[in-house]
Symmetry: D2
Subunit: 260 residues, 4 copies
């Protein structure tokens, strides 16, 4: 059977990324001493040399299928990418896994246990001969309470659910803790949020937010400050978005930084 | 050229709805004395008799294309459906148009003008020989402020953006005003929301919501009460959803009623 | 602390469904002799008597949190709902779990193993004193190849990815197999699809689809025929949608039936 | 009333982008000699100096409201941004408008008229004292037919809907034609697609695609070649994605280039 993908190509264009996207597979993700089974959406691509017509995409799906059964720590992403370099005879490979990561939460007063979900993205890129470049993406929810609304109103203050989206690139990815970065970021809103709150907890969260009013810009700056203090980061991007309770649109702020 | 759609079918199954969906077209929608050009997403289907294999779907797209240039009042949907009955030789046709409908808003104190968007769905169904059955769908945003949080907290109260989704079926659709139903529903939250608020307006909205705390169930019941008083309705479905600022999930309530 | 939810309500409206929605939690779903950990999106609601102002929604989250650790067979949904009837002192409860369900697939010629994902929805509704009403929702993908295009063209035929969405209500839900219904439905397209296909498999799937051309109406009718033969069903709804490769919109057909 | 936004900030962080997002407004977009009313989703941000606490976001909504009534050519985006620099006393502003753009299409044989929709994004960024940097984003659909499947199969070939997403940055944006770039890109698939096709057209499109098989990598490379020949471009990013009819995932390729 003709291998059409293997035909020569004369257009002279090396393609940086070609492969499969929106693949859904279960993965076992290790974070610290915990293993979570997640339902991941995956993009898995490789570079295609300029002299070849197409990629053997089924090999990418084969590699992914192999890895669904084994616990994956972040450094294992490098092994997946090395596998791709070899099986597809190329010099660059990239993988992105997007999934819901579940975090144990205890409500602030009654200490009731529940599980909170955070959108998590693990992204590895490997150029042959170098170490993998690893980026952790998180979308972390919390409450924000408007300082202006509090200041000018005789009572109350508008507040709302907000998210902080970060993309964190690491100097060394061996011991990155997803959970710790979630905790770091969720602490920068006006108050943390919880799946399960009894009345005494709801009072606590309401008052905590009221005592700690923050604009979307305040939250962004506070996230920037804690990320700058994080020793292991090489670069970061931050976006904060408030789903304004007094508008049908959102307030937004973003910032990116390369650390030395 | 063979007309494969016209081949006989022996499976004995009359299909209630078959046609095109996720068609995007501009439409001119008349509401009261105003005409808005909208970008509509459309589903347009007809019944297929049990003895025929397929529908001539291109005729549906042709009919839609014909109607993109002319202002459409709600009763015109019946003409579109009659067109479908005739051109597709069938006894049932249905159309759904989904679009952003823009509403003039003036902020409550400074009276600044802006445009608010509401998700709107017009749905017509026509059985040959009967009048069209018309359903208006709306997704209307507003603020909700939690009565429990206000009561138990020493200061502040959690609040958030909420939506009310309604599906309204009419006895008589000749004079339905989209705008009036939006106004009716947005008045049932803790406070209306606006695209444009200066500081004096923000103070007003914050305090208005604080003075008018409502659970998702309160809002649902108040919407039910105003819809029951609406003379022209035959039936309604209501869903309210609060994007809780203290949780990463939503509070929800729904209700449906047939009016006599 | 005042129990504001427990305040009397005088509007005289019993609410059929109120509770939490868009909760995300991991669940262990048993299907046949297999247990899958899934990331579920959940709606969990109860009826609210007309004389009470609000629902104690935190109790719903508590019940859900209790059930994240234990394997759930479909009949266990009834236990979750009974728990809700008791802990919320009400006479009706409903739960919907939506998640990716993974299915083992072996490619048709090379027999390579991979995992295919199907969108799955489990919905239980319980009225005190009755048995639970159970509905299984599935969104099953496959290929469709157009009979008209094949017939009129000198070579080739347009084909595309399609989905069939079903909602199946059961007489008896004790032994419902999710997997078996997926297999039943995916067999009704022009050809099954696979995450992993080597060249000999791709040839097989391409030719299989070409030999088995089906309109969206053909697929709908064939799904209706196999569902009618399924002994345990009480009612079903079917929607088929082809993501037409020659249009930027979709072809659609739907049908609903109550079986005696 | 205190101007809380105007309070001094000591964290020493200049924020590059802060403002409003997910604003929905109607806009009148001029392209060549045509004006289209579109329903736009908008992000509008400005830089916030390091010594100020917050942005006066209502001014951004005011500026947008002002511009909903007037036809906007691409160079007018610069005026909107200049307005923002002035009214918010800052040195950087950025705007992104996302909307459905409608294109006249005539079917290839019967020449039937219809309107095709393309996702369009206009993005302007202005640093005080410089010219605006303008980026045009497009998501253009077409058919792709697999060369491997055609080669190895005795009959037929799998094909599917595909999209090409581009981000084009211009040297000079005065005469950019949205329509022309859509036409350029849609010509690179295996065949163009149309909202309205009669049987003779469907035969034409089916055979055209079969005669012009292309991998996702082929399409990407052909788009790269035509963009390189486009005199006015400074840089481009291209992503191609095939919604594979034989898989439940997509084939993907991407490339970015800066032109000299």
């Amino acid at each position: 059977m003709t291998d059409v993908q293997n035909q020569p190509d004369t257009r002279g264009i090396k393609i940086k990324r070609t492969g499969v996207t929106k693949v859904h597979l279960p993965f076992l993700i290790s974070d610290g001493d915990e293993v979570q089974q997640v339902a991941a959406q995956i993009r898995f691509t490789v570079a295609l040399p300029e002299n070849l017509r197409g990629t053997h995409m089924s090999r990418l799906t084969e590699i992914l299928t192999d890895w669904t059964a084994r616990p994956i720590k972040i450094p294992d992403l490098e092994k997946i990418l090395l596998d791709a370099l070899e099986k597809l005879s190329t010099d660059f490979a990239a993988i992105t896994l997007v999934f819901k990561f579940f975090l144990k939460k205890f409500s602030p007063v009654s200490e009731k246990f529940s599980l909170s979900s955070v959108d998590c993205e693990l992204c590895g890129e490997l150029l042959r001969g170098e170490r993998m470049k690893f980026t952790l993406g998180l979308i972390v929810p919390f409450t924000s309470l408007c300082p202006c609304s509090k200041e000018i109103s005789n009572f109350g203050a508008h507040n709302q659910r907000s998210v902080c989206r970060v993309k964190l690139t690491f100097k060394n990815f061996d011991d990155v803790s997803i959970k710790n970065f979630v905790r770091l970021i969720e602490a920068q809103g006006s108050a943390e949020i919880y799946p399960l709150l009894k009345r005494e907890d709801e009072k606590f969260v309401t008052e905590a937010a009221y005592k700690n009013p923050k604009f979307v810009e305040d939250i962004l700056r506070d996230v920037v400050l804690v990320l700058r203090r994080s020793e292991n980061l090489e670069a970061f991007e931050v976006e904060c978005e408030n789903f304004e309770s007094i508008h049908n649109h959102n307030a937004f702020a973003s910032h990116a930084e390369i650390l030395s």
